[in-house]
């Protein structure tokens, strides 16, 4: 990890360790219910649709669209050099939504058009954690 990384760092739990293990390999995995076929995010030990515990992790295509966003002009510590930066919601091709940052494009209202196609990329912050971010596909 670069000594200068001063942003919040996720700590995996028993429910989310697969997500972060796969992220480290630059793959975006989420869960699916084997009883009702419902894909979902965030990681849980029961399906939020039917409460079944028969679940599987699967690799997503890493593709999605820009569902919504805000552009923050008051950076939290660690994000000073990024400001103003977008905090965005991705609509995954597989259905669930997740929060992210948009990289590879200046974060302006003109550039960030809802429903634009995006693909996942990963930022390695140390030996254990890579954070999924999204860039124009």
């Amino acid at each position: 990890m670069s000594a200068s990384y001063n942003k919040p760092i996720p700590v995996p739990t028993p429910e989310s360790d697969v997500f972060w293990e796969k992220a480290k390999k630059h793959e975006l995995w989420i869960q699916r219910c084997l009883s009702c076929d419902n894909p979902f995010f965030y990681p849980r030990m029961n399906c939020p649709n039917c409460l079944s515990d028969k679940l599987e992790w699967f690799k997503t295509a890493g593709l999605g669209t820009l569902y919504s966003y805000m552009i923050n002009h008051r950076p939290v510590p660690g994000f000073e050099e990024d400001a103003p930066y977008a905090i965005a919601i991705i609509q995954l091709e597989e259905g669930p939504r997740m929060m992210t940052n948009i990289v590879g494009i200046e974060n302006t209202p003109e550039n960030l058009v809802l429903d634009m196609k995006l693909k996942v990329v990963f930022e390695d912050i140390d030996d254990d954690i890579a954070i999924p971010k999204w860039e124009p596909a």
């Binding site: 990384y5 001063n6 942003k7 919040p8 760092i9 996720p10 700590v11 995996p12 739990t13 989310s16 995010f41 965030y42 569902y67 919504s68 966003y69 805000m70 552009i71 923050n72 002009h73 008051r74 950076p75 939290v76 510590p77 660690g78 994000f79 990024d82 103003p84 930066y85 905090i87 919601i89 939504r97 997740m98 929060m99 992210t100 940052n101 209202p109 809802l114 429903d115 954070i131």
Partner: protein
């Protein structure tokens, strides 16, 4: 017990003596100040209070006031907690668990007197580099969220895309509410503003400008609730509780079921309307918790006052402004009046003042008021319907 309708009434209601910037009192002191003011308001002997609801430690408040309650509620679901407390208090009174409840709330949101963390909304107080295993810590904080200003409005651009809401219409929310605040001496800001003034104010988090974000203040409020039968023995005009509702949705905003609508608003308000026996047309006065400018827009639609996509133009055309057909947020709201962090208590206080006929910017002929609260960022909701009309039976 088939319904909580007309089972209880608010007989005492008061805010803290001061409001805005109170640099010499802790949140605890402000709780006590509000509680004592509400007790004085209805001239009750404090020993008649046998129930206490608050988000702080109820033992600390009870002991400070020298009360040993036989019913407590410590529900903490953010700024709507106090609407939920009222609902629970009515149920407790109706079922005989207690007779008279004190609901008290206060915060040192601005000066943080006696608090360990910085001013609400102050991003510099958010520690960098922290490791967090919570769901928001793993899946939201890592992307540079800075509290409500960067999360609460996350669905608004999507809402705009789906409904055609314009930036001008979003800005018209603080413009409309400032017209109310203009005649409210205790409001922090009362100067009339224009849509252009909103656009010219500093960008906080696109699409939200400073004037589309709530204030950060100190203050509090308290309520005394008792059975409708007992309510008549107090010197104040009873504010009867006709209907109540509550709900919760997602603890993290990015996982709302639909980011353009609040499931908790819908569930909570539907229950309150059903219980109250009144329709939307019977509502003379409306409070919708406005931490940010989009909340009254979501609220008007989720509560069913207007159809999907109509709320922006409804507000822009003046329907919720002074002289409009649905007066809303008549104290100026969290955007102009005050907002110490958990605004719900102030919304209730304004509903009570309007129903009593003693508000600073009084609406003529208010009989029935609807009060909608939100907790967290669309995490929770509470709904209350008040009236000054005596029960018919």
């Amino acid at each position: 017990m088939d319904s909580l309708r007309y089972k209880a009434a608010i007989v005492g209601a008061s805010e803290t003596t001061e409001l805005g910037s109170i640099p010499d009192k802790t949140a605890f002191q402000l709780h006590v100040d509000a509680a004592v003011n509400a007790i004085k308001d209805c001239e009750i002997d404090k020993n008649e209070i046998d129930g206490i609801a608050t988000t702080m430690n109820p033992a600390a408040l009870a002991h400070y006031l020298g009360i040993v309650p036989r019913w407590i509620d410590n529900t903490q679901v953010g700024g709507t907690s106090f609407l939920v407390h009222v609902r629970h208090a009515v149920a407790a009174i109706a079922s005989g668990l207690c007779e008279t409840v004190l609901v008290a709330m206060a915060e040192s949101g601005r000066n943080r007197v006696g608090e360990q963390t910085g001013r609400i909304g102050d991003v510099s107080s958010m520690s960098g580099g922290r490791r967090d295993s919570s769901f928001p810590g793993q899946f939201e904080s890592i992307y540079g969220v800075a509290g409500p200003t960067t999360q609460f409005g996350m669905g608004v651009l999507r809402y705009m895309q789906e409904t055609g809401l314009t930036h001008e219409q979003l800005a018209s929310v603080p413009v409309a509410q400032r017209k109310w605040a203009n005649k409210v001496p205790r409001a922090m800001y009362g100067d009339i503003i224009s849509v252009q003034d909103v656009f010219d104010s500093r960008m906080i988090c696109y699409p939200f400008h400073l004037l589309e974000c709530c204030l950060v203040t100190d203050g509090g409020g308290a309520l005394i609730i008792t059975s409708s039968d007992r309510a008549k023995s107090f010197p104040t005009k009873p504010v009867y509780i006709l209907g109540t509702g509550e709900s919760v949705e997602s603890p993290i905003v990015s996982q709302m079921y639909d980011m353009t609508s609040s499931a908790a608003f819908k569930t909570s308000s539907k229950k309150a309307f059903e219980e109250s026996g009144v329709t939307h047309n019977d509502i003379d006065h409306l409070m919708i918790y406005d931490a940010f400018a989009h909340l009254p827009i979501y609220g008007l639609e989720d509560l069913g006052f207007v159809k999907r996509g109509e709320a922006g133009s409804y507000i822009e055309e003046g329907n919720t402004s002074p002289g409009g057909k649905l007066p809303m947020n008549t104290n100026g709201g969290g955007l102009s009046y005050t907002h110490s962090g958990m605004y719900g208590m102030y919304a209730i206080q304004e509903s009570v003042r309007q129903v009593r006929g003693e508000a600073a910017h009084q609406v003529d002929g208010v009989k029935t008021s609807f009060c909608q609260g939100v907790g967290g960022m669309f995490m929770a909701a509470g709904s209350l319907v008040f009236t000054n009309e005596e029960p018919h039976t």
